[in-house]
């Protein structure tokens, strides 16, 4: 059974279609990446699948339940990590997890051991007794992640889980996501506008732009569609020998710099260097998902600076209310 199946899902806000005719099928246990720039419709799609928004038209089933007719059953089977942390800043970290566990009907005896385990996982044990309003943006995010995982959902939605995190925390979050997939066979829907994140985590990636899915496939397949990886060589190069290698598709030379189109450079680089002659400099340029997005949408995904620190700003606003 598919964990998620959508048919012609549409959400319009007045005249603008935030999600436009999306049909998807995501099998159980898959990490599915939704990749696109800000405003592409990723969050709207996730909001509909998690029953927080009703679709304008079309249908979807999550864990086998209809998102409009059986929303309660859908919610029982999912966990969500929101893009903007929704942890309660007037409660402590531990209280947030405790109340969440009760809302999700975890048995009383299991709650406290699970809370301690999750706090350990996101490294918040030391600060668990402090009010969330004293947390940094990154800490709020980690608490949010712990909360989304604590009830062991079958399907987990992660909306930009590492936005605004420092590199060490980001690596840690990637670690949890991989562990969830491997150890618990959790189906994970991940939105991101970081290419490397989709590349590192996702089994399949949908590229979404202006509410439509414009391309869908494994990271490898998408990269193949865009073109091949390149190796640049400098030195006294044996051009004929290179051209005869089976995995080389093109060789161009410009001012003594050879640009070589190559399949699977991770495996074939050694053979290329062995045959290449006397080599002074090597540079490998692999196709990235940035290239993929550029090719399919005609635009670049902006990793815009204004997004950095957004959680710090949200944290500041939330702390000053009341």
């Amino acid at each position: 059974m598919a964990a998620i199946k959508t048919e012609n899902l549409v959400k319009r806000f007045e005249e603008v279609a935030a999600v436009n005719d999306v049909s998807l099928e995501i099998p159980e246990g898959e990490v599915f990446g939704l990749l696109g720039p800000n405003g592409a419709g990723k969050t709207t799609l996730i909001s509909m699948l998690s029953t927080l928004l009703t679709p304008t038209s079309g249908t979807a089933k999550v864990a086998g339940f209809d998102i409009t007719a059986q929303s309660l059953e859908v919610r029982r089977n999912i966990g969500i990590v929101f893009q903007e942390p929704s942890v309660d800043d007037l409660l402590t970290g531990r209280e947030n997890l405790y109340l969440h566990s009760m809302l999700y009907g975890l048995p009383r005896a299991e709650i406290n051991p699970k809370i301690e385990k999750m706090l350990e996982l996101v490294k918040l044990t030391d600060r668990a007794g402090s009010l969330v309003r004293t947390y940094s943006g990154g800490m709020r995010r980690r608490l949010e992640i712990a909360r989304g995982l604590i009830h062991g959902p079958k399907i987990l939605f992660l909306d930009e889980p590492t936005l605004g995190l420092d590199p060490a925390s980001r690596k840690a979050v990637w670690g949890y996501i991989k562990e969830l997939k491997d150890a618990r066979n959790t189906t994970i829907i991940l939105t991101t506008h970081y290419m490397e994140e989709a590349d590192a985590l996702a089994d399949r990636i949908a590229i979404i732009d202006q509410g439509r899915i414009i391309e869908l496939g494994t990271p490898e397949a998408l990269k193949k569609k865009v073109g091949q990886d390149l190796v640049f060589l400098k030195g006294r190069i044996n051009e004929t020998a290179i051209k005869n290698l089976p995995f080389v598709s093109s060789v161009e030379e410009e001012n003594g710099l050879y640009k070589i189109g190559i399949a699977d450079p991770a495996r074939n680089l050694q053979a290329l260097l062995n045959a290449g002659g006397v080599i002074e400099e090597v540079e490998v340029r692999r196709v990235t998902l940035d290239d993929v997005f550029l090719k399919f949408s005609g635009r670049q995904i902006k990793d815009d600076a204004e997004n950095n620190g957004i959680f710090e700003r949200i944290a500041a606003v939330k702390t000053t209310r009341r």
């Binding site: 927080l52 309660l72 109340l99 009760m102 809302l103 999700y104 606003v317 009341r322």
Partner: protein, 251 residues
């Protein structure tokens, strides 16, 4: 349909927050205390109830005022929760909207009842000495009154999009509900247009009920007070559950 564990969790959240913000507990009592000690003492008008001063006469009304202001303000606060995304967590939880509404309503009642208790103590010491059973009965009567008004606040809060509407609700709803209720005068002898409006004000019946409990004096029979309050409880539950059912993420 109704998940009592979840209601307990929602109530626990409100209780934790409520007792953490002690300055709010005090600040919400300021206006009612001004009415009680400045207007009540300063006007020094005649009391419609023989044997009681004007200040003592308005005490039941001031008690209802505390419930009214605490409950409406609490209900409107969910606009903040909506705007700052705290409500998303509970909207995404596997609980029905009825459960969510009842949990929130109980949270509001808790706050209103704590404030009522404080005012009853202040009143019993400085204004109107009452036997203990009358204090208990007043507190019991405050339960359905705070429930219906919290429901009203939550319904408006669920419908409103921004906190800018807060002042409008206070000016166009809360204050009129208070003034027309006869909290500061006797509805029986008021001008006809005031009497006409007050009949449609649910707070009128709450004030009347409190006066019956404290003085044995009421304009309406007790069954009419209780009936009106019960009807308003049911009505506001229905519209509140319906408003919560329509709550969606706004962006």
């Amino acid at each position: 349909m109704i998940n009592f564990n979840a209601i307990y969790a929602l109530l626990l959240r409100e209780a934790l927050i409520y007792f953490r913000e002690k300055e709010r507990i005090i600040s919400i009592l300021i206006s009612p205390l001004l009415f009680l000690f400045v207007v009540g003492k300063g006007l020094a008008g005649s009391s419609p109830v023989p044997g009681y001063s004007y200040q003592q006469f308005i005490f039941p009304g001031i008690m209802v005022m505390v419930i009214l202001f605490t409950s409406i303000t609490y209900g409107l606060y969910i606009i903040w929760d909506k705007r700052l995304d705290f409500l998303k967590e509970v909207l995404a939880a596997p609980i029905s909207r009825t459960t969510l509404f009842l949990g929130k309503a109980l949270g509001g009642m808790l706050g209103a009842l704590v404030e009522t208790m404080l005012l009853l103590v202040i009143g019993a010491v400085f204004v109107l000495p009452l036997p203990f059973w009358k204090l208990l009965l007043s507190l019991a009567a405050a339960v359905p009154v705070s429930y219906m008004i919290t429901n009203l606040g939550l319904t408006i809060g669920a419908k409103m999009k921004s906190m800018e509407g807060f002042g409008l609700v206070m000016s166009f709803l809360t204050w009129p509900l208070f003034f027309f209720s006869g909290a500061l005068f006797d509805v029986a002898t008021a001008a006809p247009y005031i009497r006409a409006v007050s009949l449609f004000d649910p707070v009128t019946y709450a004030v009347d009920l409190m006066r019956v409990i404290m003085f044995g004096y009421g304009v309406f029979p007790v069954w009419a007070d209780l009936g009106a309050i019960a009807a308003f409880c049911l009505l506001t539950t229905a519209i509140g559950v319906s408003a919560f059912g329509k709550l969606q993420q706004e962006k």
